[in-house]
Symmetry: C2
Subunit: 130 residues, 2 copies
């Protein structure tokens, strides 16, 4: 166990658990000392054991993304205790639906102008023939 | 503790924990006996204690939605061990971006036809004047 130097602060996870933060602390890269609430949210939703289990199952290269998603989910559950990150998913589905409706309306207008344009061109070519 | 009648099966949570499932089991409404994998996913990601804690903090009317979101997140983490439900959120953002690009392209076409239509009308009204 290598204790951090005096200038380095214990990470938010170790601070919360009142543990000594070592240089090989698995959670320190993801829970810096100045984000205690982020750790508390993750701890409340998943627990330290589960969070460490998720980290251990993954390649080191995948861990940053996995922890980003874990922290995101925990923060969303803190903000929306009932829906969690489903709140955002539902919002995005609504946004997609509204976008599709707008697109349909614009396509209908486009069809009208296209039809109109085609008719004008047919009239012009008929006039040119006579 | 009221044990379930002989015809009623223990819920997936009690089965997994090898507990007797009672009629007042808090997890039974959300983890039916025929969905053992759904419980295992929730158990793996959140743990039984955290799941029960979430339930206790909410009004009975909110619990169904909360458990739906909990099960959804757990199933997504099982499918996408790195991204979890961020996988879907990212997909939806991509869908929104693609939709916005499509809308912009259609709006550009619409502007062209509108301009064309306006010019045709101006020509027609000029011809009528002479």
């Amino acid at each position: 166990m290598n204790l951090k130097s005096g200038t380095e602060e214990a990470c938010a996870a170790c601070k919360y658990q009142r543990r000594r933060c070592t240089s090989d602390c698995s959670l320190a890269p993801y829970f810096p000392a100045d984000q205690p609430k982020v750790f508390q949210n993750a701890h409340k939703l998943f627990g330290v054991k589960n969070t460490l289990k998720i980290l251990k199952q993954l390649d080191p290269t995948q861990r940053v993304i996995a922890m980003k998603s874990i922290k995101y989910q925990a923060n969303m559950r803190d903000r929306f205790p009932v829906y969690g990150c489903l709140a955002e998913i539902q919002l995005l589905y609504c946004q997609i639906q509204a976008g599709e409706e707008e697109l349909l309306a614009v396509l209908a207008q486009l069809a009208f102008y296209r039809q109109n344009h085609q008719e004008q061109q047919e009239i012009s070519s008929t006039n040119e023939t006579f």
